[in-house]
Amino acid sequence: MGRLGFYFNQDNCIGCRTCQIACKDRNNLMPGELFRKVQTFETGAYPASGLYHYSGACNHCADAKCVKGCPTGAMYYAADGTVQHDDDKCIGCQYCSWNCPYGAPQFLEEYGIVKKCDSCKELRDGGDNPVCVDACPMRVLEFGDLDKLIEKHVAEKSTNNLSILPNSSITRPSLLIKPRQCAQDKYYFEKKEV
């Protein structure tokens, strides 16, 4: 079995943020805290305009910088290869947040610790998908054995590199994206107000 990770059909994503809300709901997150976050980007110039979204969470990287940088061992690899977090060991130093090039670990001020997407591990252990996957009305998210996902989507020009993302050689993310064509444009700007 290969590593476990997310597949994201960006080409069909409408940026509705249902995944973000389902994640927020499952994790009981407060304003400002997002374990999965949808970002919106524009490319080109009127009328040759481009629009795409990135639904991003923890990529459960093979070379997870959060695990490497954690001084207490709170960030660790679970037996299934996903990156998990032990709340009791966390001292809230946020080295993981600084080390993660995807901005996945979130500092929860109220508790003085960091948490992040755990790929809904307990749900998966119970036979379910992560909530974001089952929430998506456009069916653009999948989770599973990355090798199998690559095989399933072999006809697509899937990648784990987009202009907006750090080069995948840095952390080897468990991530597969079917990009919208304009997401490969070098020039883009993020829309903060959507």
Partner: protein
């Protein structure tokens, strides 16, 4: 609990408090079994979610969004800990799960929000007859008892009736479902003055269907499987990714995967266009008719039946009237035909691409391309939204659309479509495969609205929705006398009004009606304003008394009407009523008692019995065309519910239906092609028009619109530049000198909301910030940067919003997120909440159009304090 809620704004609301509030339904409940309340996040409930420790309950999600989906809530020890959507069967495009959208999934934050209305409230300076009425909207609030509140409402109702008669009571809504109980009680009390209008339909409303031969609503186009046969899909003013939520846009993605080409005609390159890889042909707001006429011009002038067949002449001859002088309906002037109008034979103005380009902004070459894209020998779907009909004087639009669709013959065949398909219509039309059963309660206007025992309205007077506040302020307004809500018929004549009371029930008239500033004046003029509401919207805030109404989650349950045609959603009560909120029927009954009426005359049984009746009476369509009962009911079910009824045999057990929450039919067994019968045999299956054919020339349509007395309509789809349209943005059209308000603005049905519902939801506010969209070219001209706070002004009002500076809008056009709650600055009167109806004041026109998308604005960078994001604003916690 009250003090807890009082002292926190949602910004400060901790996870722990949120959980406490979510448990409020069982006040005093020891929070056992939740593990430590100090768990930072919700993953501890994963176990309950998968192993059956918790209970999943189907929750109602019944907003006017464009669909009905399956939403479930996990209850663990009386606490609503999480939501999920449909997982009752494996998911496939053919038989999809009924997945909920971002709005439905955020309901937990809504229902248990700190600002949910908890107690009956009274405006501090209210006294009988109004008190300091100018303080409405800015007064403080005092908590009162239900008895006090209902006594006040009953006293004011009796005063209004005895002093001024029932015509002094304004119920500013079409006859709407959520208001059924209270509207019935008010009719029983002698009635009220209501409203009529075209609402969201714009010029795509009923008149055009009755008179020109359109298929309307969910019969408009073919079913979703047939759309896979389309080669080219041309979308006018459509954004199903946002306004056909749930599975709506998922069906479009199937059409894309099947290889169709999409063309997007709209001022905004929206998410639908982007996800479909559509070719964008930008046009200005409200100019679609000019584009359609120019397409017709290209088709007429370049068609050659032998060498270049663009027009389906057989179709025109067999199925339509009015195209040219040889095809005129009886009694019509042969000169007044469509072809000669388009060519400019008699008016000297050819409606050619050059003419259209000056108005709509699409280059003549692109217009010509478009005409060829939709030519007769291709499988084409011409689809439109309603947005382009929410335009002043746009009555010609649907008719012009139909004329072009007729010229190219895109009716009644697989892969061909021509019609409006926004909202729940989507690309999945055909008869509903079920009928929602009656609750068997007596109901006013039942013949119109499907109730069991029809009673006639005591007052049929309805003011056009655009002029509601004028009626209150000026004492006169145009009104019709008919029992319909969304269509005017007969003369719309000037009537005198003496409105003394505004009764609001669950609607949000103040923030969703044009001329909101006048609305505030009107609210402050009358003797009494009451709002029955679940959340403190603007309408509630400008009232004297607020009666807290339970949400879908707190009510007994219902079968969702107006959902998708192949899935029946049946929801249940998730939590008991929170705090002192009460269901509609309870309020109606108690009010009737205070008014000295017998509630049994309208509400002879409980909400539970009503839901049971509705379930019992719900029928599903068998593939053989027979309707059979949906639910199997046993004697045990009846005993368990404590209701009256008889056992019956259906397709699914009552218990099973309510546990699953959904009964879904196999749509493959029920196929639908719009206009199929008419195309096969137009004599045996005529259109319901005077000529029995599709009417490109329609004297009946012209008469129906003209009779209202607002605008004179030509029998042909003649382009009329509307008030506050592109042409009106110039002070000198010929030399193209812009006027004081140079930008066109339209409002977008917004993903983060369903109209004004959810505008207060923190999760959604964080995800969807409700900006004003403006093109980068215009922003540069006005020295505005992305994220700047901007002041937007019309003749009618001023608002502040943060700017989304984008390459996706046509220069000269701005767009505003629909549905923001107003938040007026006390000193300046500027709306910091960004409600678009503060800006919109366009007069009523044509068939009674509410021209929400006809706005001319000016914009500048705001030099005062910048707006903070809505998600960081303190909540309106009244008590």
């Amino acid at each position: 609990m009250a003090s807890l809620v009082k002292k926190v704004t949602e910004k400060k609301l901790s996870r722990r408090n949120f959980l406490k509030i979510t448990a409020a339904s069982t006040a005093g409940l020891a929070l056992t079994g939740c593990g430590s309340l100090l768990v930072p996040t919700g993953e501890k409930y994963d176990t309950s979610a998968v192993n059956g420790q918790g209970k999943w309950i189907t929750a109602g999600c019944n907003y006017d969004c464009g669909n009905r989906c399956l939403n479930k809530v996990l209850m663990v020890d009386g606490v609503a800990v999480r939501q999920k959507t449909d997982d009752t069967h494996p998911d496939s495009p053919e038989y999809p799960q009924q997945r909920g959208c971002v709005r439905g999934r955020a309901q937990r934050n809504q229902v248990f929000g700190a600002d949910k209305l908890k107690y009956p409230m009274k405006r501090k300076h209210y006294t009988t007859g109004g008190g300091q009425k100018e303080l409405r909207g800015i007064d403080e609030w005092e908590r009162i008892s239900w008895d006090e509140a209902l006594t006040i409402v009953a006293t004011e109702l009796k005063n209004a009736k005895s002093k001024y008669g029932n015509r002094s009571i304004l119920f500013p809504y079409f006859y709407p479902d959520p208001a059924k109980a209270i509207a019935n009680a008010l009719h029983h009390f002698g009635g009220y003055v209501g409203s009529w209008g075209t609402g969201s339909f714009g010029s795509w409303a009923l008149p055009v269907m009755f008179t020109t031969g359109y298929e309307w609503w969910t019969s408009s186009v073919n079913d979703r499987f047939d759309f896979l046969n389309s080669e080219t899909v041309v979308m006018f003013g459509l954004n199903p990714a946002w306004s056909s939520p749930g599975n709506g846009f998922y069906y479009y993605l199937q059409v894309k995967e099947a290889g169709a080409k999409f063309i997007h005609i709209d001022p905004f390159y929206n998410d639908s266009a982007a996800a479909l890889g559509a070719e964008w042909m930008p046009i200005r707001v409200g100019t679609d008719t000019t584009l359609l006429l120019a397409i017709a011009y290209v088709l007429i002038t370049e068609d050659d039946p032998v060498t270049n067949p663009l027009i389906d002449w057989d179709f025109l001859k067999k199925y339509t009237v009015g195209f040219d002088s040889t095809m005129m309906p009886e009694g019509a002037d042969p000169k007044n035909n469509f072809k000669d109008y388009v060519l400019g034979t008699y008016d000297g103005q050819p409606k050619d691409p050059k003419w259209a380009f000056e108005i709509c902004g699409l280059e003549p070459g692109k217009i010509r391309q478009l005409a060829y894209e939709i030519r007769k020998d291709k499988k084409v779907s011409m689809l439109s939204g309603y947005a382009n009909g929410r335009i002043s004087d746009s009555d010609a639009l649907p008719q012009a659309f139909m004329a072009v669709g007729s010229m190219t013959g895109h009716y009644g065949k697989p892969g061909h479509n021509c019609g409006a398909s926004p909202h729940r219509i989507n690309i999945n039309c055909g008869p509903f495969l079920y009928t929602v059963g009656s609750d068997e309660k007596p109901m006013y206007g039942a013949a119109l609205f499907g109730g069991a025992k029809g009673l006639s309205f005591p007052i049929n007077t309805k003011i056009n929705a655009t002029d509601l506040w004028d009626a209150v302020l000026d004492g006169k307004a145009n009104a019709v006398e008919n029992p319909h809500g969304i269509i005017g018929s007969g003369p719309n004549i000037m009537q005198n009004f003496d409105i003394h009371m505004i009764f609001n029930f669950m609607g949000n008239a103040l923030e969703t009606s044009i001329k909101a500033n006048k609305g505030i004046e009107a609210f402050r003029k009358v003797d009494f304003v009451v709002s029955c509401a679940s959340y403190p919207s603007g309408t509630a805030m400008y009232s004297d008394i607020i009666l807290p109404v339970t949400t879908f989650w707190e009510n007994v349950g219902f079968i969702s009407e107006l959902g998708t045609r192949d899935a029946i959603i049946a929801c249940s009560r998730v939590v008991d009523p929170l705090y002192e909120a009460k269901p509609c029927q309870w309020i109606a009954i108690e009010l009737m008692k205070k008014l000295g009426m017998d509630p049994n005359e309208l509400f002879p049984f409980s909400d539970e019995q009503g839901y049971f009746n509705s379930l019992k009476n719900t029928k599903v369509l068998e593939p053989n065309g027979e309707y059979v009962p949906l639910v199997t009911i046993t004697a045990e079910d009846i005993a368990q519910w404590g209701v009256k009824g008889l056992p019956q045999q259906g397709k699914i057990g009552l218990q099973e239906l309510l546990e699953k929450g959904v009964y879904q039919l196999d749509l493959k067994k029920y196929r639908y092609i719009a206009y199929e019968a008419f195309i096969k045999d137009p004599v045996a299956n005529p259109r319901m028009t005077t000529s029995k054919k599709i009417e490109i020339h329609s004297a009946t349509y012209a008469a129906l619109v003209s009779e209202l007395g607002i605008t004179k309509k030509d029998p042909l789809p003649v382009y009329v530049p509307g008030a506050e349209g592109y042409e009106a943005s110039f002070s000198d059209w010929k030399s193209k000198v812009k006027g004081e308000y140079p930008y066109q603005m339209f409002s977008i049905h917004y993903m983060g909301r369903a109209h004004t519902n959810f505008a207060n939801n923190t999760w959604l506010q964080e995800a969807w910030e409700a900006p004003v969209y403006m093109s980068s070219a215009d922003a540069q001209k006005e020295s505005i940067k992305d994220g700047d706070t901007v002041l937007i002004q019309t003749k009618y009002g001023k608002i502040l919003r943060r700017a989304n500076v984008t390459e996706r809008l046509m220069p000269g056009v701005m767009a505003i997120a629909h549905g923001s709650w107003m938040d007026l600055d006390k000193q300046t009167g500027i709306d910091k909440g960004g409600n678009e109806n503060i800006l919109c004041g366009t007069p009523v026109s044509g068939q009674g159009l509410s021209a929400y998308n006809s706005m001319l604005v000016k914009v500048e960078k705001w030099t005062g304090e910048s707006l903070i994001p809505d998600s960081k604003k303190p909540k309106r916690v009244l008590a």
